[in-house]
Structure formats: structure tokens, C-alpha cells
Amino acid sequence: MDNMSKWLKVGINVVVILANFIIVAASVGFLWPIGYLYWGVKGNVARSVWKNDSFLRYSGSHRPTASVIASFPNWPYVLLMAIGGAILMGAAIWFCLTLRKLLKSLAAEDYFSVANVELVRKLVYAECYMVFSNILIAGGNQLTSTWLDGYNNGVLSQTWSDVADSVVGVVVLAVIYVTYSRAMSIKAENDLTV
């Protein structure tokens, strides 16, 4: 730890604390997919969405008519939100656990190891799952936007722009993974140069 700058150490600790916080929050977040399934079983999904505090109406929107509520695709919406939400929470926990391991390895000044490359690869996979979950959730939110003329402003409020953001995240992580792998192979070659 002597060679590591004080600020880098502090930075790693801060990110580890944030990762721990996200792990706890995402574990609690599994309640949301369960909540959506509950709405589905209970029926009247459109009415539940409309009455929810997190559902904001577009300005000038009207209360949905009975026919709109009746035609709302209840189960597709519930399944998109529940499956998307569950995958998102799982992926977020996996991402943070992996990030925590990677940061602890870096804090121990173990910079170039096969295990670290493997951890970065897992980060890329976790982010891919997040992209997939964001697509499902954005699809679900599109249904409420189209049918009920409003948008979800609470948990699981991802839209198509969030999907694009998470794709950028995958690209950035993939670039880091490829660079790290190359650095590892260069180091391996250097280690075997006598």
C-alpha cells in the first residue's frame, strides 16, 4: 500500500462503500418486480399504474377512459417490468460484487493478474444483462406512455435513452477489458523475457 497514493486509496474506499450501498439497495429493489406481479395477479393494472404516485401525467393528458383501461396489455406490461426489474437488480448486485472484488485486488496492489481480467470480463457481462433488462423495462414504460399518456418517474423508470446509455457503458467496459487483456499478455511475455 506504500506505493499507492493516498487519494487513490480514498477513492477506492469510497467506491467500495458506494458498491455496498447499491448491493443493499438492489437487494431491497427485488420488492419492485414482486410488486408488479402482485398488480398482475390483482388485476386492474392500468388503474394501479394511473393511481401510483410515481406515475406522472403529461401536461394536458386526460384520465384514461374505461375502454383504454380495458384494452391495456396488463400481463405483457407486468411481465416486462417484473422480469426486467428482477434481471436489473440481479445484474446490479453481480456488477457491484465484482467491482468490489476488483477494487480490493487493486487496493492490494495486485494490478496485473488473470483473476482481474476475469473480473473485468464479468463486469462486461453484468452490464450486458443491464442493457437487456433496460430494454424490457423501457418496453414496459412505453406501454404506459402510449396507453395512459404519462410516464413512470419512480424505480424502474428506464426509457429508450437509458438503453442507449447502458449500451455506451458496455462499449466502454469492453474497451477496458480488451485493453486490460492486451496489457496482461504483454506483461506475460515480458515476464518470460530473460
Binding site: A188, E189, L192, T193, V194
Partner: protein, 74 residues
């Protein structure tokens, strides 16, 4: 592929790995990498030191062996 025949020359000169490692100022672990053929590359400076201590030419410790299908697969 290029093979290192350091073992042979060392045996001819009757010099141990420890002695050679100390004489050319590399670690025994690195000398072992050379002797077991795991090395990916050898520095000119290391080659020079080996040749000086063992009183030989680079060609005495490096041999080119054409690769057969069998060696490529392995």
C-alpha cells in the same frame, strides 16, 4: 522453433545453475525459465553474459528446429 540448449553447454562446462545465475546476475527462477524452454525472448545483454561466462557463441546455446505438425500441435 528456436530451442535453447543451455543445459548441454552447462554440462560441458560443468557449471551449476546457481553458479551460472550468480555469474550472469539473473535470478535462479529466470535461469530455470531459460533452461526449461519457457522463455518467450532473451535479451542481448543476457545472451552476451551467458556467452562470456560459458565461453561460447550464441549458436552454441540456440538451435533452430523446423516445426513439424506434431510440434505445432503441441
Amino acid at each position: 522453433m528456436v530451442k535453447l540448449t543451455l543445459n548441454v553447454v552447462m554440462a560441458e562446462r560443468n557449471i551449476s545453475s546457481q553458479e551460472l545465475a550468480a555469474a550472469i546476475d539473473i535470478t535462479p527462477a529466470n535461469l530455470s525459465i531459460l533452461k526449461t524452454g519457457k522463455a518467450k525472448a532473451i535479451r542481448f545483454s543476457t545472451l552476451e553474459k551467458i556467452c562470456r561466462v560459458l565461453d561460447c557463441q550464441p549458436g552454441d546455446i540456440l538451435k533452430y528446429v523446423p516445426e513439424t505438425d506434431d510440434t505445432v500441435n503441441h
